[in-house]
Assembly symmetry: C2
Homo-oligomer: 105 residues x 2
Amino acid sequence: MGRTPPHPQVSQFDLQQVLEALVDPVRRSIVTRLVTSGEDLKCGAFDMPVSKSTATHHFKVLREAGLIRQYYVGTSRMNSLRRTEMDEAFPGLLDVLTRAVSAPS
Amino acid sequence: MGRTPPHPQVSQFDLQQVLEALVDPVRRSIVTRLVTSGEDLKCGAFDMPVSKSTATHHFKVLREAGLIRQYYVGTSRMNSLRRTEMDEAFPGLLDVLTRAVSAPS
């Protein structure tokens, strides 16, 4: 699959890079959506207040930080949360940030 | 104490603001130092690779996000981690970030 973009291994995960990815509200909303949906979603399934090229950039930043895995199904680029690997590298981080985001008041 | 700078209440804590404070490595190192020392520290006690005015700015960002409380003892500005309040607002966040920072390898 020459179209599958590169992904970092867990040993390459970097807290600074992960925080820089998650400090952006739009990118955090993508991760929260993947956490709450519990399934892989194509890029078009996210309702984002940004242009398509900006959205593509956001997915790329998340992928390069190790937060999501991207792969193709036909012409759709799918996004999968790398939950197990992120929990291995930074236990609790995803829980904390998605709980804080989705907590009612 | 007219010299005591303003501090947000817990109800005013904002995850976005807290993440923007903690995404900076120098500011994260200040918080980690306070976590590991377990006591209040004056600004001069932190070994930071930045100018004094930049350091003052970093402390201000942390204070305005609710991460630290600042007060004077004589001419020294002291810094206290607002651990209880931060844990109340965002349970686990400080644990996750300081554990990740201080973890061996």
